[in-house]
């Protein structure tokens, strides 16, 4: 009996850690991995009629996808929009984080709260607020009309790719700010002083020291914005109209009114694969780029 007790207690760190992790891993497997595997298998089936699905495995749905120029163009557009949004967000958010990390001394706490707060507020409402601004009778148009700058409402504001890009940039900014700030804040200031001491100019210090050291945050921000925005549904549905439509809106349609679950599953799988491939390439090249920089 003692031997049994001893085995129970002398569990290694591995065993202890995994017993603590088991509920989380169980959740991931049951609610994410198995459903995703099932989605993958559904992408090989055929929707025969509204209620009926043929379960013979086939690659036909993937062929369907690439034969429908609409789907392919939506995929390309989704990736393009996400890419632009990621780039704009990074470029605009980086100086803000840089300022707070290196220049703010007083009331840092207040700045940090301001930085984090939008992250938690309703995504739906953040997107919706742009509908108020960009709408035909919205804030923008009514102000310009009132000021006499324009005589007719600008209709291109809403329901366009640009509107989607602006809205996404705003709605996802909070996701970029945090990883960027954390990585900049971590940088030991003595590195920067040492670099200045060794005769590098401010500009060189930034490119050779600060930026490479902040790279984990840059990659984090890229992942955290690019991946979800490719699959964003709310913004194109509310703001995008026909012009700003993205792949998610079609996927939703396949699961909804078009009712072609296999094709929807195939589209979702293609979206996921694309996203994974692109992020792998992006993080790899960014890492290589830094190695060359430093």
């Amino acid at each position: 009996m003692f031997q049994a007790w001893r085995n129970l207690y002398s569990k290694s760190d591995n065993a202890k850690a995994y017993s603590l992790l088991s509920p989380a891993l169980f959740l991931i497997i049951l609610v994410m991995l198995i459903p995703m595997a099932l989605m993958l298998s559904f992408s090989s089936f055929t929707q025969v009629s509204m209620m009926e699905i043929d379960f013979t495995p086939t690659f036909q749905r993937y062929i369907d996808f690439f034969e429908k120029s609409l789907l392919v163009s939506l995929l390309i557009k989704s990736v393009k929009i996400s890419f632009i949004v990621t780039l704009i967000t990074l470029l605009t958010a980086y100086p803000v984080c840089y300022y707070i990390a290196f220049y703010v001394k007083k009331n840092k706490m207040l700045w940090l709260v301001l930085l984090t707060l939008p992250f938690w507020t309703s995504y739906l409402l953040r997107v919706f607020s742009w509908k108020i601004i960009l709408g035909t009778k919205g804030v923008f148009n009514s102000t310009l009309l009132g000021a006499g700058i324009i005589s007719e409402p600008l209709t291109f504001l809403m329901y366009s790719e640009e509107a989607v890009i602006i809205t996404l940039t705003h709605a996802w900014a909070a996701f970029a700010l945090l990883p960027l700030y954390v990585s900049l804040e971590k940088i030991d200031f003595s590195y920067i002083e040492a670099a200045r001491d060794l005769g590098l100019s401010k500009f060189e210090v930034f490119w050779k020291v600060t930026f490479p050291l902040s790279l984990p945050g840059v990659i984090g921000a890229i992942l955290i914005i690019f991946i979800p925005t490719v699959g964003d549904y709310v913004t194109p549905a509310l703001i995008g109209g026909t012009e700003g439509r993205m792949l998610s809106n079609m996927i939703q349609a396949y699961f909804g009114k078009i009712n072609n679950i296999p094709l929807g599953a195939a589209s979702a799988t293609i979206m996921l694969t694309t996203v994974i491939l692109i992020t792998a390439i992006v993080s790899y090249t960014t890492k290589r780029l830094t190695q060359r920089l430093s």
């Binding site: 003692f2 007790w5 001893r6 207690y9 002398s10 290694s12």
Partner: protein
């Protein structure tokens, strides 16, 4: 007095491929101040944690006062521990910390009050009941940790380098206090430390550990005077090693040839065999004499002083003996760096002070 109060029988603890404790057996006496001494990574803390129940042995068993505790969880053992960082609960005050372990002992309120008051007096912390960990100094935290463990009246108190975080002066004070306290209450102490001076000055017996094994277990003066191997000789105090080889035995003495010095007859406590070249002679710096003139000791060598360091109560000389390509350390309370002209001196060794040790 129970000679085998704590019995450690063939205990091993492996972490993956690392043998932190490797087949160790010994006993600790009741009421003894026992120290586990060794460099970091030698297995002393693991052995203490095995006694406390935070680790379970890979092999072997542990007995305290005759009962097998090998498989008992920490809360069922008659031991209590003073942690290295004291582990004072930060969310409750000193009094609640001390009472923490009394809940399950089934005491009445009066008994609890008495125990707490007594232990507070014992560790001189009266008046600090309402303080929190953050409001205490290092020394006070250490007293709380001690009180919290002692209030449960354990059979064995385990102390994991409890003085390591204190500054030198406070540490010396606490050494004396701990020793007095232990004699007063008579509880068996198992004390882990890497500080040889601490172990030697406080303990009844010391087990020197290295690489998961006990290198020597004896009283402090024995450790110093009669080290059983090179590790102990080197780890306890300072010493000079001289290469040697044994010749013929002569009773409890043996003839040795010390490299570059000649043949001598020294005591052979460890019963080292004849004609072995795997031996060294160990001579403590303070057992040698340094002088201006030649002496009539067993060995007297002319030497040149390379370097001196003045330590207050003594001076340490690093000398080069003519004919030996080796720096020898000698300490002296009589002379200092001003004492010798032209840096020439004589160093004398008594054969009685030479310990003969075997290489591994």
């Amino acid at each position: 007095m129970n000679e085998n109060f704590i019995q450690i029988n063939g205990i091993s603890k492996h972490f993956g491929n690392v043998k932190a404790v490797d087949d160790v057996s010994f006993s600790i006496k009741e009421g003894e101040f026992f120290s586990l001494l060794g460099p970091s990574g030698c297995g002393k803390t693991t052995l203490l944690r095995l006694l406390a129940g935070f680790e379970y042995p890979t092999n072997g068993n542990l007995l305290i006062d005759g009962s097998d505790i090998t498989a008992l969880p920490p809360d069922k053992r008659p031991t209590n521990m003073v942690f290295q960082n004291y582990a004072i609960f930060p969310h409750i005050n000193v009094e609640q910390n001390i009472k923490f372990g009394l809940r399950k002992l089934g005491l009445t309120d009066d008994e609890i009050k008495k125990r707490v008051d007594d232990v507070l007096a014992l560790v001189k912390l009266e008046g600090y009941e309402e303080r929190f960990s953050g409001q205490l100094s290092g020394g006070q935290r250490q007293r709380v940790a001690l009180a919290r463990a002692l209030v449960r009246q354990p059979k064995v108190l385990l102390l994991d380098e409890p003085l390591g975080a204190l500054d030198k002066k406070l540490r010396d004070e606490m050494q004396l206090e701990l020793r007095t306290l232990q004699k007063e209450i008579g509880i068996t102490f198992v004390f882990v430390t890497h500080d040889q001076q601490e172990a030697i000055s406080m303990s009844d017996r010391v087990a020197v550990m290295s690489e998961g094994k006990i290198q020597q277990l004896s009283a402090p003066n024995e450790l110093y005077k009669n080290p059983e191997n090179i590790f102990v000789s080197d780890f306890i105090g300072e010493t000079n090693f001289l290469k040697a080889s044994t010749r013929s035995k002569d009773g409890d003495h043996i003839n040795v040839a010390i490299e570059d010095l000649g043949d001598f007859k020294v005591k052979n406590n460890l019963n080292i065999p004849e004609n072995s070249s795997d031996v060294v002679c160990s001579v403590r710096p303070e057992s040698m004499m340094i002088s201006r003139d030649k002496s009539d000791w067993d060995i007297c060598l002319e030497a040149k002083i390379n370097q001196t360091s003045y330590l207050g109560e003594m001076t340490r000389f690093y000398v080069e003996v003519s004919g030996i390509n080796k720096v020898i350390t000698v300490s002296s309370q009589h002379f200092d760096n001003q004492s010798f002209e032209n840096n020439t001196c004589f160093i004398s060794i008594s054969l009685e002070d030479i310990s003969l040790l075997q290489k591994k």
